[in-house]
């Protein structure tokens, strides 16, 4: 664990950004505010690459937008070079996850956009764009339109567009997550190479990612976020020299440790690991947690994998992620869903099946559905509640609106909608209830089918 140490006042370059007591929430009528980010502090100095690592919904992208000046925090202050930030600042450039290229502009016109906004003269614009295009390996593509290019080439345009303004701070919002594995790796190594050779015209980089290996590969410092609300859970220093070797045992150990850190359960009342049947009434009252958006197929698939060779019921998360070319952000929600339903548990960067999980793997389709239904009713209060309401109603129908409203009191409409979709999909799989999309109503499945 010697690489992981809290970072305290490491004297580096000049202070660029200072975020203090930042809090982002949005107001919802007639109920408490929904908090996205809570009490976040961050300082960024010249010469470092800092990573914001966390699951989706941890507010890391929100923090990036706050630093960029695109978003004004609800509370707390952001200083850019000592001055309070008011709107996008000069000297900050951003690279987007979706590339955000203008499809009607050529590569060169896209790259020149930021310079044009600064009012740089045409000749200079042209030569600087040319330099940036060459630096990033896009020479020859000047007159191409983005839609003619592959994803990797498009993101190079995004990079060139950001670099051409010679920003002091380069913000990157999950820049490689929309690319395939090989392309992403090429772009990463190219970028790091330019950075360590000092050829990048930037002084500091802030990168948002959910890919643990990417963070360890690129960053000098990593802030790990926890979710709901987003907080900085821990801050880690990565002191390996560039270029870094993924296979280095110390590198692997660090990745392992971060997995453990990210799957560590929040300090809250622990749930029973083994589901006991018939205790529906005693379900823990957290009706309003966002559910991991995971399909039942993925859950079943993961459980079968863990149960089979070579894992035999317990798997190392990084190894599992590598074997299936999955990123932490894809793998962890599945595991979390399993943990929520009492089918599996996280332990120190590993995931292990519970007895219920083993039972599920060994069961046939119908039996699986029953096991799943029981687990869902026991562990997902919202599902239990819907089921109960439906059973009480004379026509066994209930509008979905009221449940959605209830969710929206505690989370953003997007998350509420996603959670509703999960509830519907799980409910359907477990044959607990049906859902009529046109009427936006939950319905009870046929009585004779579900009486056992």
């Amino acid at each position: 664990m010697d690489q992981i140490a809290p970072v305290e006042g490491k004297a580096a370059g000049e202070l660029l950004v200072r975020v203090e007591g930042c809090r982002q929430s949005y107001h919802k009528e007639a109920s408490a505010d929904v908090i996205v980010l809570d009490d976040v502090n961050l300082s960024l100095r010249q010469g470092e690459i800092v990573g914001l690592l966390g699951r989706s919904g941890s507010g890391k992208s929100t923090l990036l937008r706050i630093v960029s000046g695109l978003l004004k925090p609800t509370a707390g202050e952001v200083r850019w070079r000592g001055k309070l930030l008011d709107g996008p600042a000069e000297g900050v450039a951003m690279v987007f996850q979706s590339f955000a290229l203008f499809p009607w502009l050529t590569v060169e016109e896209n790259v020149e956009l930021g310079l044009e906004a600064q009012g740089v003269a045409r000749a200079e614009r042209h030569s600087r764009a040319e330099d940036a295009i060459d630096l990033i390996g896009l020479g020859g593509y000047e007159n191409a339109y983005p839609k003619e290019m592959s994803g990797g080439m498009r993101q190079r345009v995004g990079l060139a567009r950001a670099l051409v303004v010679h920003p002091d701070l380069l913000l990157m919002d999950e820049p490689f997550s929309a690319l395939d594995v090989l392309t992403a790796e090429t772009l990463r190594t190219d970028l790091i190479e330019l950075w360590s050779e000092g050829r990048l015209p930037v002084k500091s980089i802030l990168i948002v990612t959910h890919n643990i290996e990417e963070a360890v590969l690129m960053c000098d410092r990593i802030l790990v976020f926890s979710s709901n609300p987003g907080r900085v859970a821990s801050e880690l220093l990565v002191s390996f020299p560039h270029p870094r070797n993924r296979l280095d045992p110390a590198f692997r150990q660090m990745v392992d440790d971060i997995y453990a850190l990210m799957t560590r359960r929040p300090v809250e009342p622990p749930k029973p690991l083994v589901a006991e049947r018939g205790t529906v009434a005693a379900a823990p009252q957290r009706t309003t947690e966002p559910l991991p958006t995971v399909s039942t197929n993925l859950m079943a698939g993961l459980m079968e994998t863990i149960a089979g060779e070579p894992y035999n019921g317990r798997a190392d998360l990084p190894a599992l992620a590598n074997a299936f070319q999955m990123e932490a952000d894809e793998l962890l929600p599945i595991g979390e869903a399993l943990q929520l339903l009492g089918f599996a548990v996280f332990e120190e960067g590993d995931i292990g099946l519970t007895d219920n999980g083993r039972g599920f793997v060994e069961a046939e389709t119908d039996e699986r559905k029953e096991l799943f239904a029981a687990a869902a009713r026991l562990h997902v209060p919202l599902i239990a509640q819907i089921k109960q309401v439906l059973e009480e109603r004379w026509n066994h129908r209930a509008p979905a609106l009221r449940f959605r409203d209830e969710l929206e009191d505690h989370m953003s409409p997007d998350y509420a909608a996603a959670t509703m979709r999960v509830v519907i999909s799980w409910g359907r799989y477990g044959e607990l209830f049906g859902y009529d999309q046109e009427a936006d109503q939950f319905t009870l499945e046929d009585e004779d089918e579900k009486e056992d």
């Binding site: 695109l70 996008p88 900050v92 590339f99 955000a100 956009l113 044009e116 906004a117 303004v165």
Partner: protein, 573 residues
Amino acid sequence: MTILAPPAFVNGRRMPNLWDGAAILCVLGVLVLVAHAAQGTLAPLPHPNATPIHLDPRYLPFYALRTTMRMFAALFFSGLFTLTVAPLAAKSRRIGLILIPALDILQSVPILGFLSFTVLFFMSLFPGRVLGAELAAIFAIFTSQAWNMAFSFYQSLTTVPRDLDEASRAFRLTTWQRFWRLEVPFAMPGLVFNTMLSMSGGWFFVVASEAVTVGNTTFLLPGIGSYVSVALQQRNLLAVFYAILAMLAVILIYDQLLFRPLVAWSAKFRFEMTSGGGVRDPWVLSLVRRTHLLRVMGEALGDFAARLGGLRLRVSVFAGLERRANPRVVDVLWFGFIGILVALALWRIVAFVAGTITLSEFGHVVLLGAYTLARVAAAIVICTLVWVPIGVWIGLRPRWAQLIQPIAQFLAAFPANLLFPVIVIVIVRFALNPNIWLTPLMILGTQWYILFNVVAGASAFPTDLKEASANLRVRGLLWWRRVIIPGIFPYYVTGALTASGAAWNSSIVAEVASWGHTTLTATGLGAYIAEATTNGNGAGIMLGVCVMTGYVFLLNRVLWRPLHAYAVRRLTF
């Protein structure tokens, strides 16, 4: 066919709300006001120095040119209106709240009914000069184009992709740069498509607005529309035929020289990251791209536009004002202002209604509206029964579709009122019942919308679904019911709602038709308005127009929009 986007006015399944009410009152109030102002000047207007219309075909090219010029003048103003009003509505919540429902209602107002008022209004601005009538014609075309273009632009402005919005802000583009680099390009495909629809409708209005009779005075502007109207008076069938030929030529030229290239060019602005299949450039665009001189000129123009769009101007009249002042105070002031406006409108309407309209008259007009409604409905049903099977047959055969599609679009642009005389002659000759046989006139020009939308829908039907249904041996009625009708439904709805909206408008010219001294009249709201216009009965026109607006508006909200929303929700791939 690549040109297919829903017309701009069909978003969401929003039901009428309070703001619609306010907007209705404001629009009606303005109409009443115009009618009132015009009524004073209704009787003795100095006859403009009208140029006589010659039926010699040698004059036709000149008339065609005049008609086309009018068209483009109106288009210019519509563009100006779109580029200024839509951003205001999109950027300022307060303005948008009232402006958007107002535009929505204006779309439902049958402009043809209002022609006499606008003619009088503009004539009184320029007494004794042709300019007044000229401006009135241009205004009529403008009102047939501007609303849906503005709507389309507004919709694009409110759906700018978030990442591009953030990128333009992060790179600190000024409002001016943002407008020309992001917002206008993003809106371009929709704008071009809606402009095309507008222009297609516009030919109809330009022809109708060139010859306007108010009371005893007929204003004739040199143009194809006047030519036809004079030909009708003189029972000169050959001249009508010449006019039809001239119009065909004009639309063909405008289609080939302007719209095909424009649509092909606007594909560049489509917001999608996959490059579309190889759609061949229309010959004009290839000509511009390949001919050195034209290319240099085009590039110079593009360069100039790029420099202009790149200027670092900050246009923030409203944003600045709104940000500086206390939002509560501004809200109170603004909504107070609108409240007063609505109250004023209400007062004018009440005063007008109380003074001129009796309840029985109102009831009579609503009943006439019901007749016209029945006619429109019958026309749509018949067109559906005819064109849907034909459209599907064509759409499923790509080679046919390629051939037919441009023809259908071309026919949609052709002003059907030029063809009226032909049908009228048939009705007169065979002494047919005008109540039934005038109905086809209403749908004559707009049925093509149904055809080309259905063809587009059937061509876009996914191949794998076609194969799957063939593999499952789904045939006959089952195939229509389960496979192709749901597949083309969203397209069909788009076409049908366009057709029905236009049919209402054309009822004003279609329910009354004349050939020499014979006048055929069908009982209906359109005929009522037309009659009131000939009699110079301002209150009658007002009432008719308002009732028709109500019908169109309700029909849109109660039938077409929910249908469209349902189709988009459930039946798109």
